[in-house]
């Protein structure tokens, strides 16, 4: 990057907040997605909206790529600076600006850690429901930009269901305000939802207004073990058909069960085809009633074993298996791909079987676990990125997994986003018209394609 341009960046944000040493740039060449790496030319950490605006105006004039970045924990290569340019580090935007108890909303800057927001609203008896696995590290801005989900997705949904308004800096540096604290607001195009999940390709989020919900008074956790995968699948369908929406309804497949048991020794039968982990939450009386109904459904669908947690310690024990799933799989091999192919929940058993077939056919190790209740599965492929021959097989298995998900009426991403990782399947899901529409939006808002170029909608 030219030195006068760097000087201009330094003038805008201050010398200390422009990193150009190779050793630093190498540390921004990646995110949590395996297989993508590219060095930026500079890492710029602005302190306020005005600085973001100035940086973008400059980058737009000079046609320099800009990649907004929070903690870089995302799983779609969404923050990898694949074309060089500027990584826009947003972690200095770390203030919770307001917790509005009367309106049940909070206003925060994008660099706030999601867990910190939850901690702050806890004292008011409120929660911000999106809770991705990286909740203790990920920034609010990153999770909103990626439309992140989490374990409570079945009952509570994903980020877009909680974002009420945004302040966004557009590619040319102009500042946009979308929606606000109104529960009912049908004026105009829904720009809030457009920018939520835009993965940094349409603008840089500088302020976020989110909806908060009352913290559930009670929770009850259960674990059911199935020797037959279809019985697990039928249980999922029957629970929902019984008009019960658990906060969480998770599944572990046989490969995951064996790996978890081997690693954490939590007492799972290794021959089981599936384990379901269920948590209902809400008002104590309702929780009791719903838990009893869930147990009934599990029994009717031939669960081999059912455990209901009586206290916090037992609840912890039940969730230990789920918590161990990713670490246990990740420890098997150096490289871990955690995908998030999602299908209508009735298709969960079929999807798991297809993943297993893809694993066997291409001789790769895949464990599947995930949010069965919302159809959001995490086929987790463990391999070694340094083994070229193995990686070819891995990518073939991945192709098969995503095309199957789309064939079953599913989607490429339940909560991780598209980024670069799943770009090549986008046309399969959206078709030519869908992609044309999305690219038209991208070009209208970012005509020079400086914002996270090449991601989500590809080249345009």
């Amino acid at each position: 990057m030219e030195s006068c341009l760097l000087n201009e960046l330094r003038r805008i944000v201050g010398t200390a907040y422009v990193l150009t040493d190779k050793e630093d740039l190498l540390c921004y060449a990646y995110d949590a997605t395996p297989g993508f790496s590219h060095m930026p030319d500079a890492v710029v950490s602005p302190a306020n909206t005005n600085e973001v605006s100035q940086v973008l105006a400059l980058a737009n004039t000079e046609k320099i790529p800009v990649y907004p970045r929070g903690s870089g924990t995302n799983l779609s290569a969404g923050t990898v600076p694949t074309k060089g340019g500027i990584v826009l580090q947003m972690t200095r935007f770390d203030k919770i600006l307001e917790i509005d108890e009367a309106n049940l909303v909070a206003t925060a800057e994008p660099g706030v850690i999601v867990a910190a927001l939850n901690k702050a609203v806890e004292q008011f008896g409120l929660i911000y429901p999106p809770d991705p696995g990286t909740v203790a590290t990920a920034t609010l801005g990153g999770t909103v930009a990626e439309n992140a989900g989490g374990l409570r997705g079945l009952k509570y949904g994903v980020s877009k269901h909680y974002v009420m308004g945004l302040e966004v800096v557009l590619a040319d540096g102009s500042i946009l305000q979308t929606s606000g604290k109104n529960v009912k607001d049908v004026a105009g195009y829904d720009l809030t939802k457009l920018f939520t999940g835009s993965e940094g390709t349409l603008g840089v989020i500088t302020k976020i207004i989110v909806k908060l919900v009352p913290a559930p008074e009670a929770k009850k956790s259960m674990m059911a073990i199935f020797s037959n995968l279809d019985n697990a699948g039928n249980s999922i369908a029957a629970i929902i058909a019984g008009k019960i929406i658990p906060a969480t309804l998770e599944i572990l497949d046989n490969a995951t069960i064996r790996t978890v048991e081997d690693y954490a020794k939590v007492g799972l039968p290794t021959e089981a085809e599936a384990v379901l982990l269920i948590e209902v939450d809400g008002i104590p009386e309702v929780v009791e009633k719903e838990a009893a109904k869930v147990v009934e459904v599990l029994k009717a669908n031939h669960a081999d074993q059912i455990q209901v947690a009586k206290d916090a310690a037992e609840r912890d024990k039940i969730w230990a298996a789920r918590r161990a799933a990713l670490p246990a799989l990740a420890k098997l091999r150096p490289t871990t791909f955690t995908e998030d192919a999602t299908v209508p929940r009735s298709k969960v058993p079929e999807m798991i079987r297809a993943v297993n077939q893809a694993a066997a056919k291409h001789k790769v190790t895949i464990g599947t676990f995930g949010h069965a209740g919302d159809g959001n599965l995490h086929p987790t492929i463990v391999c070694d990125l340094r083994d070229k021959e193995e990686m070819e097989r891995v990518y073939k298995a991945m192709d098969e997994i995503f095309t199957t998900a789309i064939r079953l009426g599913g989607t490429l991403s339940g909560e991780h986003g598209i980024g670069l990782g799943k770009l090549k399947y986008m046309e399969d899901q959206f078709g030519e018209v869908g992609m044309k529409t999305m690219r038209a939006i991208k070009k209208a808002l970012d005509p020079n394609c400086i914002l996270n170029p090449g991601k989500l909608v590809g080249e345009c």
Binding site: T33, S45, T91, T134, K331, L385
Partner: protein, 434 residues
Amino acid sequence: MKEDKKLLTDIEDALANCMKCGNCMEVCPIYKEIQTEAAVARGKLSLMEAVINGNAEISAGFDQRMAMCVSCKACAVKCPCGVKADELILRGRQAAVKARGLNPIKKQVFALLANRTLFDFALRMAGLFGPLQMKKLPGRMAVVARFPMPGLDRRRVLAPFAATPLRSQFPEHINAAKPRMKVAFFTGCTINYVYTDIGQAVINVLKANNVAITIPAKQHCCGTPVYMSGDVELAKVFAKHNVETFERVNADYIVAACGSCAEAFKIEYPELFHDEPDLQRQARNLAAKTYEISEFLVDVLRFRQDTLGPVPATVTMHDPCHMARGIEVTAQPRAIVAAIPGVKFVEMKEPARCCGAGGSFSLAHYDVSRKINDRKIADIASTAADTVVTSCGSCRMHIVDGLVQNGRNQECLHVVQLLDKAYEAGKCLQFKQP
């Protein structure tokens, strides 16, 4: 292949296991303050990978970034893949030393440290002439520099060097009337030359429990500061000396009153000699009978509680990193505090969060270490305790500095000093009884 780069390729598989999930960011005290990727384990591991792949050199910049780590091990404990990032970062430092040589100031300090006689002489002189340079702060075991000194922040509060080192204050062997056992005391440099009050307390407490003590005169620095800086060869020289010295004294147990010194004996020494089987066997034998003082008093000695007198104090505890995550001794110091009559114990928020000392880290990066420490001081302040106890001289010094800088009046002691006070108070009780 050059030897420096080979040091990294040896750990290539271990580096590949890092899946860049970023979980280490949650717990890294340095990342919390400076918020750059190179500050956190994930970044440092990537930098090492870049060197292996030929995308980077072991440059001054590499060296600087490897140095930005307090070795608190929080990342390693947090890592879902079990990557021991703290050890890998030490390997990065080792490669930097191989490639670029040791930093000139460290080189001089280590050269002095390596010459046991000269080191002893220098620190005795510092103890004698220190008051000329250092001004004592009233009411504390703390001093500040009167004049600027190279490599030292002038604001920084230190502890005075002892006029007479601990090992010169006591004979090599201290007998007990009917000794239950013989214990060798590894004093470490901080206790020998600076915090002799901790050493005195160790001796008192062991005596109160009828233990014969030997304090080998020829013991060396445990080597941790040298090892942490990446000079593994010199660390091995120290380790070998200590292993041979302590084997000769043939004690039933070895105790240290510092988490890092205990960790050196218990964990580092056997690992250092992985290619020297005889020495490794000796090191393992010693490791098996080495205990940190609280661990020893509680698990081995089951210290006397009937002679404890009351110590009226509200106490909170800071767990040094090498106690909490190194040798994993946190219950025992609490058991000691709980046994002392009159003490009200208040747990602080995140007692095992690093205080920012990190051995020589706080010398080289005083500003960052101060910021980390300010959080610790705030946690201490929010407990309303009048006394902070810990189990490491280096943490004690850094916490005292933080208390002074933040205008706080709490006292900071080693756990064993509190116990010593209780035995002392117990003697008065006996005296008063008819």
